[in-house]
Each structure stands twice: as structure tokens, then as C-alpha cells.
Symmetry: C2
């Protein structure tokens, strides 16, 4: 039924623990889509989009759902990348919904490509990229993503003071959206203790800040705390 | 205006990071109320209800709000104990709502006392106590709490296999409620690494479980990971 399109899928994995953002800790399946319109300097999934490293197969929505169902009875499925908003996920979202026990869907995107089908996702986590990533923010595109999404939240990775100032700028643009600040994970160097130290420093920075940050959370990447910087978890 | 009742308050603290459950990471103020109808063997706040240890002052809702506002512009306030459902918090909830920028309220209770005013809380985290606590579960009381709450979620602390089986029993009672499993914090013995080890073991237990746990999360106590078992954070 949902076999009319093919989507480039790097990997389907899980069930595992969602490590980030407002759904942290949730038992979730993951579908990672190929291609990205960004090339962030500290991106932790470079192996999925760097030329020569990227491998994927083209799957129909039906095939994706079939693989998800075969692996686990999970309530949540996270659609990530790369930037999954590059593709047309409307048929996949319809297939995930069109089940006796529909999946709850989380879309993870940087917010650089607005799509009507963002409204079909139960949660859209928008992670505009701070200065330390080397990537620009296209505010008007981010505005459009937020306007399209039924349920949008923000996530900003913070490496340094410039990133913190950027996060404040994002909050001022969208004062009513919940936002997570997440410490930057230096893959290959950080371990659980260094990540927790960074997280404590960031948390204390926010807690001592007199500014009104609204609905703000500070969170580590739970999957990295639990399993380190391994792939497939 | 909200000066007609006095509530026994152990402490008002924050802003800090909410360490537990589905609001983990959120910047929040805390109000801890005196008295508990339980005496859990591993309770991590015994000093607030054990005879001879408990100290509190009686404050009106207006006085509580005044102290909260004086300390920080926080969006969330967590009402905890002890068991805060022992008291009549309706006037306090009204006072927290009756502001230009109303607080979002989280109530933390074991679910042993149902109150009509649970419907006034933005989130009610119900944490029925597993076998290792030494406390019974009064299912019909828990049913009534869940029926009263506008937005209820479950949290079960898991120390051992009997607790895990209990969590499953809770999920079967309330299959549509989101539930967090939280590892038991052995105050004075555990540190960040031992807590993460326990959390990983519990996460892997859930991930390898073929049963349909619905909307399930596995989470550590973030405040303990960041600051250890200190009071006032």
C-alpha cells in the first residue's frame, strides 16, 4: 500500500534508549536517513553522509514498517539523519500511523527544510546549529518549520560561550517553545565523567543566569553515558 | 488573597535541575512539604519525615509564591515531599496559576491519597512503591489518583527482579500511561558510575524484553549524576 516511494535508509536500529531531548530515556526504534544539507564540524554521525563513507539501501515505507515491526513492539520511532527533511516522509508517516497500534513519531532535524508533513509527526525536535558547528542559521526557514510542526521543541548543542549566546538568541526568537541545551560530545575523547562534568558546568551556568529562559532543560546524551560513543545504540 | 491556609513546608529550593521522570533536565523550583504516610526503607529524603529529624515552617500559599518569585523566574515548580497529597494544595495551585506568567506545576506523590485538586496540576508523577521499599500498593487508591489527575505519568524505582516484576504489574494495570523506570539510588554508596552501570543494566533488561511495555523510559536521577547525593540540589 505504501510502496510508491523509495527512501534512502542508512540503518534501522533498536529498540534502544532515546538519548536526547525531551524524549530522553524513551524506548524507541530509529530509522536513519541518508544525506544532509549541512556538514557540521562536530557532527557525530559523519560516517552517514561523508562522501565515500555513506552506505544506504532504498526502502519503501512498507518495507521500513515491516522491519520495525519485526524487531520490536516499540511505541516510539525516531526518524533521524543526516537531515530526514530532505526526503518526502509523508507516505512513511502515513504507514506508521495506519496500524492497529500506531507508532509515535519523533523527527530530528536542524530546521533548514520546511515540509508540510512535519504536521504529521507527534514531535519535531529542531536543532538549529550554533556557531561552533560552522553552519549558518536560516531563521526564515526555521520559522517555517516551526509553523508547519504540530508539536515543536528546540535543542541546541552548546560547546562554548558563543554557542550559549546563540542559544539565548534562539530562545528569544521562540520564547514559548521548550528548549533543551545539550553539551557537545567530543567523540573519541569524552567519556561519561567528562560529559557529566560539562553538563554540570552548563546546568550551573543556566541556573545562575538571571535571564528568563522559559521552559528550559539541560540534558546530557544518555546513550553516550550508558554505552559510550558506539554506533548502533 | 491566598492566605487562608497554612502549609507545612520543609524547604523551598532552586532553581535547580529536575532530576527525575518525564520532566528530567527541566529548570525548576522545588517546594518540599512535611509529612509522609509511607516509611520506605530506601527513601532518599528520610530526613524530612523521620521523627526528630523533621523541621518545617507553616507558610500560606501567598508566602510560598512570594519566596518562589523572589528566587528566580522559573517556568516550572515541583511540589514534593514526603507525600504532598496529605495536604490541601488547592489554594496554592490557584495562587501559582493566578499570575501574569503562571507556573507549570509538577506534583510528585506515591498515589496513596486521591485529591480533587490533582486535576489542577500540569503533571502528576505517581510513583507507587515496589516490593523492595517494604510498602504496600493500594491499587484502588492509585486508581482514584489517576482518575483525578489531568495528566498522569508513572515512575517506578527498580532495585531487583521482584521490583521489575512489580513495574510490569503496574504497566499492565495502566497500559496507556507513560512510565519511567528509575534505578534505586543507594545514598552514601552509589556514585555517578555505579548509578550509570545500574541504569545500563536496567535499560538492557527492558530493551531485551519481548513484552510490550508501551510508552516506557529508563532514566537515572540526573541531579545525583551531576551533584552526587547532596541536599538542596
Amino acid at each position: 500500500m505504501y510502496d510508491q516511494v523509495q527512501l534512502p535508509v542508512n540503518e534501522i536500529f533498536g529498540p534502544t534508549i532515546q538519548g536526547e531531548g525531551f524524549v530522553i530515556g524513551r524506548r524507541s526504534m530509529f530509522v536513519r536517513f541518508a544525506y544532509c544539507d549541512y556538514e557540521g564540524v562536530w557532527c557525530d554521525t559523519k560516517y552517514w553522509w561523508m562522501p565515500g563513507l555513506m552506505t544506504f539501501e532504498r526502502l519503501t515505507p512498507d518495507q521500513i514498517v515491516e522491519q520495525l515491526v519485526a524487531r520490536s513492539r516499540c511505541r516510539w520511532v525516531t526518524l533521524t539523519g543526516g537531515n530526514p527533511a530532505i526526503h518526502n516522509l509523508a507516505p512513511l508517516l502515513a504507514a506508521l500511523e495506519d496500524r492497529p497500534d500506531p507508532y509515535h513519531t519523533i523527527l530530528e532535524t536542524q530546521g533548514s527544510i520546511a515540509r508540510e508533513w512535519l504536521a504529521l509527526c507527534d514531535l519535531v525536535t529542531l536543532s538549529p546549529k550554533p556557531p561552533s558547528s560552522g553552519m549558518p542559521t536560516h531563521w526564515e526557514k526555521l520559522d517555517r518549520c516551526i509553523a508547519q510542526a504540530r508539536n515543536a521543541v528546540l535543542k541546541v548543542v552548546v560547546l562554548d560561550e558563543a554557542d550559549y549566546a546563540y542559544a539565548w538568541q534562539v530562545h528569544q526568537h521562540y520564547p514559548n517553545l521548550p528548549m533543551t541545551l545539550q553539551v557537545c560530545n567530543d567523540v573519541g575523547r569524552d567519556n561519561a565523567q567528562t560529559l557529566l562534568d560539562k553538563c554540570r558546568t552548563l546546568a550551573e551556568r543556566v541556573l545562575c543566569d538571571d535571564a528568563d529562559w522559559g521552559d528550559i532543560a539541560v540534558l546530557p546524551q544518555l546513550h553516550v553515558l550508558l554505552w559510550g560513543n558506539k554506533r548502533g545504540v
